[in-house]
Symmetry: C2
Subunit: 222 residues, 2 copies
Amino acid sequence: MQSPQVSTMSNCEEPKVTTAPHIVKEGLMASGKWVKLEKTTYVDQAGNTRTWETVKRTTRQTNSADGVGIIALLKRTLHKDCVVMVKQFRPPLGCCSLEFPAGLIDEGETAEAAALRELKEETGYKGEVVGVTPVTCLDPGLSNCTTQIILVNINGDDMENINPTQQLEFVEVILVPLDEFQMKIDDLLKKEKIVVDSKVYIFAMGMVQAFFKPRELPVLKQ
Amino acid sequence: MQSPQVSTMSNCEEPKVTTAPHIVKEGLMASGKWVKLEKTTYVDQAGNTRTWETVKRTTRQTNSADGVGIIALLKRTLHKDCVVMVKQFRPPLGCCSLEFPAGLIDEGETAEAAALRELKEETGYKGEVVGVTPVTCLDPGLSNCTTQIILVNINGDDMENINPTQQLEFVEVILVPLDEFQMKIDDLLKKEKIVVDSKVYIFAMGMVQAFFKPRELPVLKQ
């Protein structure tokens, strides 16, 4: 019988893992200018050779994530802190999305610099980086695409942030108060046909989780 | 001059938006069994016809998300609540990922049913759905792929959840205490070459945001 385990478990009574899984070959199926489709041949843990259809961006730079997502908090005197969000038409969806500002990292650019550049372009705000995540994957069953999430504070009392000037015409900036983030997102969804990015919704869920179930005691559960 | 705005703003002094952006044509560039690449022709807000390279899954069912992601909380007597995570080799990444359990929705299946099925297959746990998000997008600059996040509680004191039996051999289940989620994730990253899913990391950031900056007062900021 498998014993209960606290941090890691596997249901294999006798371990079947014999091979460290690894890639054997990446064969191009098709490529556009920005995106390519590959057939990935790999060996799984049992030693079997298998294939997988993999999407990659053609624009990937060496040693970095493909892009950045920016969680930007606008802090202003006598206002609630707000998350700076962007709404824009997304051709893959055929409708508008509601996302954190985001974009690809340019060649030779750091993730932090890309974040401040994209934030300025998309929203007009000048921010200050206060946190950077590791490289994270976006849809690892489909693509190798990665992003780093950059946490940015915006001093909304600074003159340059009082009347921010966007450089992209077709991005709408939406300010969502941090303390009612999920409710406001849900309100926006009711009003119009937009698709929210999963990262946005999960950020909201994380906050709700922490607000309403802070450090629940490990006593008998109902 | 643009006036400061509370909830929505645009930098256009004279509105340039003349057209509701819309898709004109979706042309197949290449298709595998699971994934296809399309050239999307669309009209932007200025009335210009443009193209975009779009990735789609071939498996999309009518009127639903492609898949589900499951935030499953394991609740046990005398234990801290834990988030049930999975570590697995992901061919597109060429290494292991750390993700919430997830999977595609089968034909005719509800998102809730898919979540409980995938959770059982990947981790052995039987859970109860306590929350469902709207359909959310995963990487809307690249693909039309969507997921619904399903919040699930697992009664870890139930006999069937004490020795859970996975149905997938090569998925490792990792239990991460909710109240030190981000720290434990960071520890795992230091120990081995894995890529964390962006949704996992952002869930952690949402909780940290709420833990440490609960409802900050809108007074003068430093």
